[in-house]
Symmetry: C2
């Protein structure tokens, strides 16, 4: 590490695509990846630690950081702010680590606009039919929830073309191998050397 | 094979970089690659077969093919023409094979201008010092020849920035792994899906 600047990797994918399984498999393949930790104004839950699950901020601190352009992206959900602080990402990249942002499509669009050097990857299910089967298989969502998730997935999948790469998750190990190859190839780009 | 169009891969690198060792290692890793066979007006040597080492053409045939824009690139050396016929490349790609063109920098520039979808990779030695050592180690060139090869390598290495990727050959297996990753990543590009 340290000799070479790491990559900023933006990863998005509809709920139910199996993103976390793929990320786990990717982290088993490479030890030069760090996760970005988000900042939030919501209260810590029992067991959560500042700087591990989230950076916990007051509303005033968060608004101050927005004013200072200290976020790669941010958004407000259900009265709470969430965002990706730029400074720790930059530190890790400078230390030679690739920083992975697991982020939804609007946030990803903000990051890509701000950081054209980011490597963007959209992880998608083989088809909406397969996604529906997976969502039903989890058994956690009722019909209305499944329909809403499928509609969201369809909207998100229309954004795949804005990502440099699209990886189809028909097999988590294969998807992780492709993500691994994408990082290796990006490091070989003449305009990064 | 067949379901998906293959990639056109342009590979260049100075003499003595160890390109053929890297290519051999790459072919051991993937069985979906085909080599492009060049056309030439020079006479076949004993044991050479039309369509294997070269497509052997008369000067008239070759000039006719130039007139028909049937080459991805062509050049004249020591009174003989050499070129890459487009048709067999296209056929292999359509059958789902990636076609590798092992080609010097001028020819590569012609291909890249004609085929912006080509994946271009420049293979370089870790340094000119290492290249010099390798050329001397081969024991086949005299001092004047080595000096001329090094000057050519320096000129060619200045062209690396025109290739999308630059792979440093400090280890043939590692370089083959990187080439392999480049193909895998390119197949994941959203604009190719």
């Amino acid at each position: 590490m340290g000799e070479k600047r790491g990559l900023l990797v933006v990863l998005s994918g509809p709920s139910g695509t199996g993103k976390s399984t793929v990320i786990t498999a990717l982290l088993r393949r490479r030890n030069d990846i760090r996760f970005s930790v988000s900042a939030t104004t919501r209260a810590p839950r029992p067991g959560e630690e500042d700087g591990r699950e989230y950076y916990f901020k007051s509303r005033e601190q968060f608004l101050q950081m927005i004013a200072e352009d200290a976020f790669l992206e941010h958004a407000e959900y259900v009265d709470n702010f969430y965002g990706t602080p730029a400074a720790p990402v930059e530190e890790n990249m400078r230390a030679g680590y690739h920083v992975l942002l697991d982020i939804e499509v609007q946030g990803a669009a903000q990051v890509m606009a701000k950081r054209p050097d980011a490597v963007s990857v959209f992880l998608r299910p083989p088809s909406l039919e397969v996604l529906e089967k997976r969502l039903r298989g989890r058994g956690t969502d009722d019909e209305a929830r499944i329909a809403s998730r499928l509609a969201a997935a369809q909207r998100e999948m229309a954004q795949a073309k804005h990502y440099t790469y699209t990886v189809v998750n028909d097999d988590a190990e294969k998807a992780a191998r492709e993500l691994d190859a994408i990082l290796t190839a990006e490091l070989c780009r003449s305009d990064r050397r």
